[in-house]
């Protein structure tokens, strides 16, 4: 079992209800493949650094889970099949990672700042799942 962080962007035209559906579906994919979800976070609609599939904004969803390569394969397959998902990234967080999810600041070119950024109004929700092992 390996710790993974998976992040995907949902098209901005998708309703909040639909976003929730997509999130639930992807959670199901993780669990179906024996993965254990540790954290789910919704950053809400954010401006993208560049246009993706003609969209300038997107809803960012972040998963942290324990699992194996099989989870990643199936999850990424489902991301590709899902029309509302315009981009995704899966990484293995390295050892020094504290596990805190840092929400990037929306404003451009801010000088060095501490890792806070947890005060954005358009943050929708954040939850912690059960601890693995």
């Amino acid at each position: 079992m390996q710790l993974y962080e998976s992040i995907f962007i949902v098209r901005p035209t998708v309703t909040e209800e639909e976003v929730t559906k997509v999130v639930e579906k992807m959670k199901g994919v993780v669990e179906k493949n024996g993965g254990t979800l540790l954290q789910t976070e919704n950053w809400g609609k954010r401006k993208l650094a560049y246009e993706v599939e003609k969209e300038k904004k997107g809803t960012y969803i972040i998963f942290r889970f324990k699992g194996d390569g099989k989870v990643i394969n199936d999850l990424e397959h489902n991301y590709r099949m899902e029309d509302s998902i315009i981009k995704f990234l899966t990484v293995k967080p390295s050892k020094g990672d504290s596990g805190t999810l840092v929400m990037p600041s929306a404003d451009e070119g801010r000088p060095f700042r501490s890792r806070s950024g947890h005060d954005r109004e358009d943050r929708r929700w954040s939850e912690s799942g059960k601890k693995a092992d």
């Binding site: 962007i9 967080p93 020094g96 840092v102 990037p104 890792r115």
Partner: protein, 76 residues
């Protein structure tokens, strides 16, 4: 002969100084300090980062770009 002109102030790696072990690709306010206005990664000789942290910063910037948190470097 004036020496001061060529002796560079010793730059210390900010991450070593702050004892930061993990450079988070999601921490764009931090990463923006290490990209130029055009979006290029600032080289080590300017950033003052040690080799290992420069590598971490580079990887984090590339990850941030791939998920549209940071822009790709502009062409001239």
């Amino acid at each position: 002969m004036e020496k001061g002109r060529f002796t560079q102030r010793k730059k210390n790696c900010r991450f070593c100084t702050d004892k930061i072990k993990y450079v988070d690709y999601k921490d764009t306010s931090l990463l923006r300090n290490f990209v130029t206005e055009r979006g290029k990664i600032v080289p080590r000789r300017i950033s003052g980062n040690c080799a290992s942290h420069q590598r971490d910063v580079g990887q984090a910037i590339k990850r941030a770009r791939s998920i549209a948190l940071l822009a790709f470097a502009e062409e001239r």
